[in-house]
C-alpha cells in the first residue's frame, strides 16, 4: 500500500489532470466558436449603470468610453454616485452637459448592490449593462454582447477584462491572471457554467434581474450572487470573449489582498447561500457549486499539504543538523542528495509543463487579438504566476474564511 503522501499526490494529480483534460476537450470541440458572437436580431434598448464611489480619476473616462461605443440601441447611461467623498460628483456634473441621455442618481453611501438596484428602478432599457466606474469598454464591446440575448432564456452575458494599469510587477501578474480567467470562463460557457458576470462590463436582461430580485445587498460580491441567482431561476449565462473592457487593478499588495479577500468572502457567501442548490438547478448545482467548492477546498488543502511537507523537511534538516553537530560530524554531503526522481515528480513535471504551455497558448491567442502579446509573453512573469502567485493564493482563502467567521466586512 503506498504511503499517505503518495496517495495524496496521486489523488491531487488525478483531479488536476481531469480538469486539464476537461478544458482541452472543450477547447477542441469548440475551437471555431471561441471568439464567436451572434448578431443581434432585434435592436434591444439598453441602459448602462455606472455605480461610482470615489472614482474621480476614472469616472469621466468610463462615461466617455461608453458613449463612444457603437451599439445603436444605447438608450441611457445612469451614473449612481454612491456617497463619494472625493470629486467624483463634480467630475460627473462637469461631463453631464456633454451627453443628454446621461443621468445621475446622487445618494448616500449604501454599497454597490443598492446603487445598482436604485438604477434598475429608473432604467428604461430592456437590457441593463453594468460598468464599473474605473473600466473602459472597447467601442465594439457592447454590440458584440447584445446578440447573445436573441436567446430568450439568456439572463446575463459578460466580457473579457484586460488590465489597463500595468505599472507594477503585481499588476502585470494580474494581467496574466485576468487573461487566463477570461479564457477559462469562456471555455466553461460551452457547458453553460459561467459562474460570474464581472463588474467591468456585463449585460443583464432587465426582466430577469427583476425576477431574481435584483442585486443582493447582503453579499459582498453582488456579481457572483446575481449570476448564481439567474442560473437558479433557469436563465443561461454566457461570455463574449471578443468583447473587451479594460480596468484598473490594485497596484499595491495591501490593496490587492483586500480586494481578493472581498472576492473570497463573496464566493463563500454564495456557496452558503446556494448550498441547497447542490446537485440541483441545472449547471449551478451540478457543476458550478461543486467546482467552486472543490477549487477552494483543494487549493487550501494543497497549500497545507505543501506546508506540511516543507515544514517536515525543514524540521528534519534542523534536527539532523543539531544532532550532527552534537556528533561532531558533517552537516551536508553531496552524497546525501537524492537524484532518483520518482514517478510522482515526473507527474508533477508533466502537469507544470502542460500548465505552462496552456497559459502560453491562451496568452498568445488573447494577446494577439488585443495586440498585447509582447506584454504578456514574459516567461519570468508567467513562471512567477504559476509557481508563486498561485501557490500563495490560498492564503487569501484562509483570511477570507477568518473574516467571514468574524463578520469583519471592512474594506
Amino acid at each position: 500500500m503506498p504511503s499517505f503522501t503518495t496517495l495524496t499526490y496521486l489523488v491531487l494529480m488525478f483531479i488536476a489532470l481531469y480538469f486539464f483534460f476537461f478544458y482541452i476537450v472543450l477547447i477542441i470541440r469548440n475551437k471555431h466558436r471561441i471568439f464567436y458572437y451572434p448578431k443581434y436580431k432585434k435592436l434591444f434598448s439598453l441602459t448602462i449603470l455606472i455605480p461610482a464611489h470615489n472614482e474621480e480619476k476614472t469616472i469621466q473616462g468610463t462615461i466617455e468610453a461608453i458613449f463612444n461605443t457603437d451599439y445603436p440601441g444605447l438608450k441611457e447611461v445612469i451614473v449612481i454616485n454612491d456617497g463619494s467623498t472625493d470629486n467624483t460628483l463634480k467630475m460627473i456634473k462637469e461631463i453631464m452637459g456633454k451627453y443628454e441621455n446621461l443621468k445621475l442618481i446622487n445618494k448616500k453611501n449604501t454599497g454597490k448592490a443598492d446603487s445598482l438596484n436604485q438604477g434598475i428602478k429608473i432604467a428604461t432599457g430592456e437590457l441593463i449593462g453594468v460598468v464599473d466606474a474605473d473600466s473602459y469598454p472597447y467601442p465594439d464591446a457592447i454590440r458584440k454582447i447584445i446578440g447573445f440575448f436573441n436567446d430568450e432564456k439568456m439572463g446575463a452575458v459578460t466580457s473579457t477584462v484586460f488590465v489597463r494599469n500595468k505599472d507594477t510587477f503585481l499588476s502585470k501578474i494580474q494581467a496574466i491572471e485576468y487573461a487566463i480567467l477570461a479564457w477559462t470562463r469562456k471555455i466553461l460557457s460551452f457547458v453553460d457554467a459561467v459562474y460570474v458576470t464581472n463588474g467591468p462590463l456585463s449585460i443583464y436582461r432587465k426582466s430577469a434581474l427583476i425576477e431574481v430580485g435584483g442585486f443582493d445587498r447582503n453579499t459582498v460580491t453582488e456579481d457572483i450572487d446575481v449570476t448564481w441567482n439567474m442560473l437558479r431561476h433557469g436563465y443561461h449565462t454566457n461570455m463574449c470573449l471578443d468583447s473587451f473592457v479594460t480596468t484598473s487593478v490594485p497596484l499595491k499588495v495591501k490593496d490587492w489582498w483586500r480586494q481578493r479577500e472581498r472576492w473570497g468572502i463573496g464566493g463563500i457567501q454564495a456557496l452558503i447561500k446556494y448550498r441547497k442548490s447542490f446537485l440541483k438547478h441545472g449547471m449551478l448545482g451540478m457543476f458550478i457549486i461543486p467546482f467552486v467548492s472543490i477549487t477552494i477546498v483543494l487549493s487550501m488543502f494543497v497549500f497545507l499539504f505543501s506546508i506540511y511537507i516543507i515544514l517536515k523537511k525543514i524540521m528534519l534538516f534542523f534536527f539532523s543538523t543539531q544532532y550532527s553537530l552534537l556528533a561532531k560530524t558533517y552537516i551536508f554531503n553531496t552524497k546525501d542528495m537524492n537524484l532518483h526522481p520518482s514517478i510522482l515528480i515526473f507527474f508533477m513535471l508533466v502537469l507544470f509543463i502542460t500548465a505552462f504551455v496552456y497559459s502560453r497558448y491562451i496568452l498568445i491567442i488573447l494577446g494577439k487579438k488585443k495586440g498585447e502579446w509582447e506584454d504578456l509573453r514574459n516567461i519570468f512573469k508567467r513562471m512567477f504566476y504559476l509557481l508563486v502567485y498561485l501557490t500563495i493564493y490560498p492564503l487569501v482563502w484562509f483570511s477570507s474564511i477568518y473574516r467571514l467567521i468574524k463578520k469583519d466586512f471592512r474594506w
Binding site: P2, Y18, F190, S320, Q322
Partner: protein
Amino acid sequence: MVIKDWIGNRYLKSEKNAFWEALVITILVFLIGLIIGFFLESLNQKNIEQYYIESEVQLLDLNMQQDLLFLNEIDCVKAIERNINFGDKIYEEALLLQKLEDSETLSEGLKVQHKKYDLLRTLFWINSIKIRQSCPDQFHTVVYVYEYEPDLNGEAVQTAFSRYLSDLKNAEGDRMVLIPIAGNMNLFSIKNMLQDYGIDKFPTIIVDEQYKITKIEDLDIVKELVEEKIVSDSFDSGKNSTKTQK
C-alpha cells in the same frame, strides 16, 4: 431558425459529454502514468535484485573461504581483505537502496528487497564474527542497527548516526566493516539476534560484538574502539556504553 435552435440545444447537450470524455481520457492517461511508474520502479528493483544476486554469490564465496580457513589455514590477510571489500560493496548498495526508498514509491517491492538485504547483511555479520574468531585483532565490526521508517526525531538521530559512521568508515577504511541492519523488519532471525545482544532501542551501534552505543554523545567511543584507543580490558562499560550480553 427552428433547426438552428434544435442544433444549438443538441450541441449544448453534446458539450456535456465533455465531462465523461475528460474522465475517460484522464483515467487512460493516469493508468498509462501508473504503468510507466510501476515499470520504472520495477527497473530499479531489477537493478537492486541484480546487485543482490551478485552479493549473495559473493557471500557464499566468502562463507566457503571461511570454511576452508578451518580446513587449510588459508591466509588471514586475504580473507579479511575480501571480507572488507564485500562489506564496502553491500554498504554502498545499502545507500543506493535507501535513496530509492526515499523517493515516493507506488509499490512495496523495495521493502522486500530491503528485507532480503537485511538478512544478507546479517549473514555477512555472522561471517565476519567467524573470521574475527579465526584471525583476531585484525579488523573491527561495526554493526549499525537502525529503525526502518522512524518518526521525525528518530530519522534526524539516525541521519546523524549514519553521517558519523560514514565519516568514520571513510577515515578508517580497512580497519572496520560497517554493517547497517534494519532492526524492525519483522524478521525472526534478526529479532532473535538483537534479543541476544540485548538491543531494545534504535539506533544502536554494536562494536566487535562487545559494546553497544545508543547515545549520540557517545559516538566518539566507536571511533576510539576502532582506533583502539580504548582496549577492551580498560574500557569502562558502565559509564558511556554497555557491554553486550554475549
